[in-house]
């Protein structure tokens, strides 16, 4: 009797768990499907894939490739937002990553791998700086990261003496432009980063601690969780993700452009996280949904570009779609909308 009710308890538990994760993945996926469906009917060759020189080409692959930097940022941003913070500096950190990589390529003889590792480490330090300000100096996250958002671009410019440094380095070019498993290499970077992060949050207690801290920091602290360290680590992870994204961009354009690399991408990544259903107030977070959000944003951009709609519309269309997805995620809004529809009919 008791065992039976325990079993029922567990079955119900499992069902609820799945439904929660699915609930947050559902809306960005549906929006993505709608945009794709639109392209299926109205944009010729949108789904066309073609194998050339061992690499697949086509709009879909292009979307995945172009979205890679924002997807990386949104992974780190998800963790930061889950702790109740936000990181405005990731775009600037991307620029720093580009500048450091460019310097190392042009001024040193380090190998490709050491350049990547050194750059990512520097970006981890930048993220840690944010984390120290937020967790230990108790500066509000938006202010703390605003400091590096402004200063970071300055640092990147100082590193390159205000010039755009171009470089030729075939092995480094692979990072942003290479082909791996018939796909652009950035897709692999995103996949591996996602795999590592989801292992971290699911196979260790890190996920639980992050959600607990974001949901009720005081109660988490009184429960013996090192809340400061959790927050610090979140910003460090954010810095690492931004470093990887910066490397992809620099490698792709074969240059370090301190002024424009990663410009406004912090905002895109915050949007991706929000569209993915992670609340800006912190707590429960959804890595996969954030990726879906980033893909949605990129798909809209690509659609507009391929349909020869004036580029000026891109931002407006993006905003409209995102507002719709965010509204749809609100149960209250869905109820009210349904009522309205019913009353009319």
């Amino acid at each position: 009797m008791k065992a039976a009710s325990d079993n029922a308890l567990q079955r119900e538990s499992k069902a609820r768990r799945h439904s929660e994760a699915w609930h947050h993945l559902k809306w960005p996926l549906i929006a993505l499907a709608v945009v794709l469906l639109f392209n299926f009917f109205f944009t010729p060759l949108f789904f066309h894939l073609e194998m050339k020189d061992g690499r697949i080409y086509g709009s879909l692959i292009d979307i995945l490739n172009r979205a890679a930097p924002v997807m990386l940022l949104s992974l780190g941003m998800t963790i930061v937002i889950a702790t109740g913070g936000v990181d405005l500096s990731v775009g600037a950190v991307m620029a720093i990553a580009g500048s450091i990589a460019a310097l190392l390529i042009t001024k040193s003889s380090y190998s490709f791998l050491s350049i990547v590792i050194l750059t990512v480490c520097a970006c981890a330090v930048a993220g840690t700086w944010n984390g120290v300000l937020v967790a230990y100096a108790q500066v509000q996250p938006i202010v703390a990261t605003l400091i590096l958002m402004v200063a970071g671009r300055g640092i990147a410019q100082l590193l390159t003496n205000g010039q755009i440094i171009t470089f030729e380095n075939p092995s480094f070019a692979f990072f942003g432009g290479g082909t791996f498993l018939a796909l652009p290499f950035p897709i692999t970077i995103v996949a591996v980063t996602f795999a590592i992060l989801s292992t971290l949050v699911n196979r260790t207690a890190a996920g639980l601690f992050i959600e607990a801290v974001g949901d009720n920091e005081k109660a988490s602290n009184y429960s013996g969780i090192n809340t400061r360290l959790v927050k610090l680590a979140a910003y460090t992870l954010g810095g690492i993700c931004a470093g990887l994204a910066g490397l992809i961009v620099a490698s792709d354009i074969k240059a370090a452009d301190a002024n424009n690399a990663g410009l406004y991408l912090e905002l895109d990544s915050i949007l991706a996280v929000v569209v993915g259903g992670t609340a800006l107030t912190g707590g429960r977070f959804f890595l996969l949904s954030s990726l879906a959000g980033a893909l949605l944003i990129q798909t809209i951009t690509t659609t507009i570009l391929t349909r020869a709609i004036p580029v000026e519309f891109t931002l407006i269309v993006k905003a409209v779609v995102i507002i719709i997805v965010c509204l749809l995620q609100s149960e209250e809004f869905r109820k009210k909308a349904l009522q309205l529809v019913r009353r009319k009919s």
Partner: protein, 513 residues
């Protein structure tokens, strides 16, 4: 019960039949309140008695559902604090609501600065401030920033600000809670002076000594109703306390007795705290907790019960005093450290210090245990589910399943889940601050039974509760706090409600009475 007021003048402020309901609660059920000119009138009552609701109705923060309010003979109906202030009712709240980096003069004039053609008239601001300060016999440079003044002086400046308008009624809502003894005396001198100038003062406080030191009359509220209105000299402390908690002393004396509990002095000492002191929290608290015993911490609200618990759990650091654990002196610097030493603390503030609202019951239960194991050694899903199922069954937590976000549970079930969180960590000392607040009788009884069986297994419990019956029933030893200091300790058969009450009421030598 209410006595007629021996006064020739008509009362300054008369409230009749004030009612105020919130969804599900009747906060005020027909309360009368009368304040005279030249009177300091204490408003007393335990938590939830309706004191703050009454003050808020009076100052226009809330609108009353029914009842009448008269000030100086004419009907008033304040719709906002500004409204009330214009009518002549000024309030000074517990926390100083001023702006630290502005000057004293600016703070006094804030929101009603004299202007000409849209420009501030600095000269007049300073003059007005000096006049207001002089009225309080304070001497200070009004151009100094507020933050350069001590908290006590800031409190006085807040009063000066309140009096800057033509106040006839001054409400002081726990003005003394962050002041030390000398500062309190300074405040009282001012209160008496203002009274003699003709003001009616409403004084809300938890400190009994202070009530008797300064008040002329006392109105007691309980459960949203007025118990009575008394001249301070006619009401003894013990009567005051019995009326506040709603228990007649004779009734209390009859109830208790016949409790046989083992004297536990022979057991090993787990925690020994001596001379704990922290400004604004506790003055002088000694506390010994032995292995396997329940120590009750009794005292009125604000007596330093929770504050003591917070120090023991490493949340707040004491300014002075010593804590020995297992005979070794320890400096507790964080909750994390206290947990590592085997302590647990279930806060009275379930919502902000207890539950992680959007996480599941399961996650809430395993949180402390997982924190102890560290982030790398994650409890397997199966272990987590088994733990959750075990405690849900053991404590009878009413939830459809373990994955439900804990915020959807009722208060009592949240409390049980938090208890489970600590039990899962197998603490040596569990500090329970009001663990039975807001839960039904059956669950209360279960928690008491559980406490007994836990101590039989060797766990020590520090039990804080406003409900005396519970303290008496559950404790092996009761430490009594009054006005932030330990005043007595009862062991075994000495423990009774009557004994606790008379300890709390007892005057101490240093009292100004």
């Amino acid at each position: 019960m209410p006595q007629t007021v021996p006064s020739i003048e008509p009362p300054l402020l008369t409230l009749r039949g004030i009612e105020k309901s919130f969804p599900g609660v009747k906060a005020l059920a027909g309360v009368d309140f009368t304040l005279n000119r030249r009177e300091i009138h204490a408003l007393m009552g335990e938590n939830g008695a309706g004191k703050s609701t009454l003050i808020k109705v009076l100052t226009g923060v809330y609108r009353r559902d029914s009842g009448t309010m008269q000030l100086g003979g004419s009907e008033i109906d304040p719709r906002s604090p500004q409204d009330a202030q214009q009518a002549g009712i000024s309030t000074v709240y517990q926390e100083v609501n001023l702006i630290p980096h502005l000057s004293v003069a600016e703070n006094i004039s804030l929101g009603r600065q004299p202007k000409r053609l849209g420009f501030l008239r600095w000269g007049e601001i300073a003059q007005r401030a000096e006049k207001a300060i002089a009225r309080l016999d304070l001497k200070l440079d009004v151009r100094k920033p507020l933050s350069s003044c001590s908290i006590a002086v800031q409190q006085l400046i807040a009063i000066a600000r309140a009096l800057d308008t033509d106040a006839r009624v001054l409400i002081l809502d726990e003005p003394t809670s962050s002041l030390d003894t000398r500062e309190v005396e300074q405040l009282f001198v001012l209160m008496r002076k203002l009274r003699d100038q003709g003001l009616g003062i409403v004084f809300v406080t938890h400190f009994l000594d202070q009530v008797y030191a300064v008040s002329d009359r006392i109105t007691i509220l309980r459960n949203g109703q007025r118990v009575g209105d008394y001249a301070a000299v006619d009401l003894s402390r013990i009567e005051l306390i019995s009326k506040m908690i709603g228990k007649d002393l004779s009734e209390v004396e009859r109830e208790s007795g016949g409790k046989a509990k083992p004297l536990s002095t022979a057991r090993e000492i787990l925690v020994q705290a001596t001379g704990l002191k922290r400004k604004g929290a506790v003055e002088n608290v000694d506390l010994t907790i032995r292995k396997g015993e329940v120590v009750g911490l009794a005292g009125l609200l604000g007596s330093g019960r929770t504050e003591t618990a917070r120090i023991l759990f490493g949340i707040d650091k004491p300014d002075a005093g010593k804590i020995e654990i297992d005979g070794h002196k320890r400096e507790l610097r964080s909750a994390r450290q206290a947990i590592a030493l085997g302590f647990g603390f279930s806060s009275e503030d379930r919502k902000t210090e207890g539950i992680i609202p959007n996480l599941s019951v399961r996650e809430n239960i395993i949180l402390v245990l997982q924190g102890q194991r560290g982030w790398l050694r994650l409890l397997s899903r199966k272990e987590q589910e088994e733990l959750a199922a075990k405690y849900i069954a053991m404590l009878n937590i009413a939830t459809s399943d373990a994955e439900k976000p804990i915020r959807f549970l009722s208060g009592g079930n949240q409390q049980k889940a938090l208890l489970a969180r600590w039990l899962a960590s197998k603490p040596r000392l569990l500090i329970l601050d009001e663990p039975t607040r807001g839960i039904d009788v059956g669950a209360k009884f279960e928690i008491q039974k559980l406490m007994r069986s836990l101590t039989n297994e060797g766990m020590s419990i520090l039990f804080i509760s406003s409900e005396l019956e519970e303290v008496v029933r559950s404790s092996d030893r009761v430490v009594i706090l009054r006005d932030r200091a330990r005043i007595a300790e009862l062991v075994g058969e000495e423990i009774s409600q009557a004994a606790i009450l008379s300890s709390i009421a007892g005057t101490n030598e240093s009292s100004p009475e």
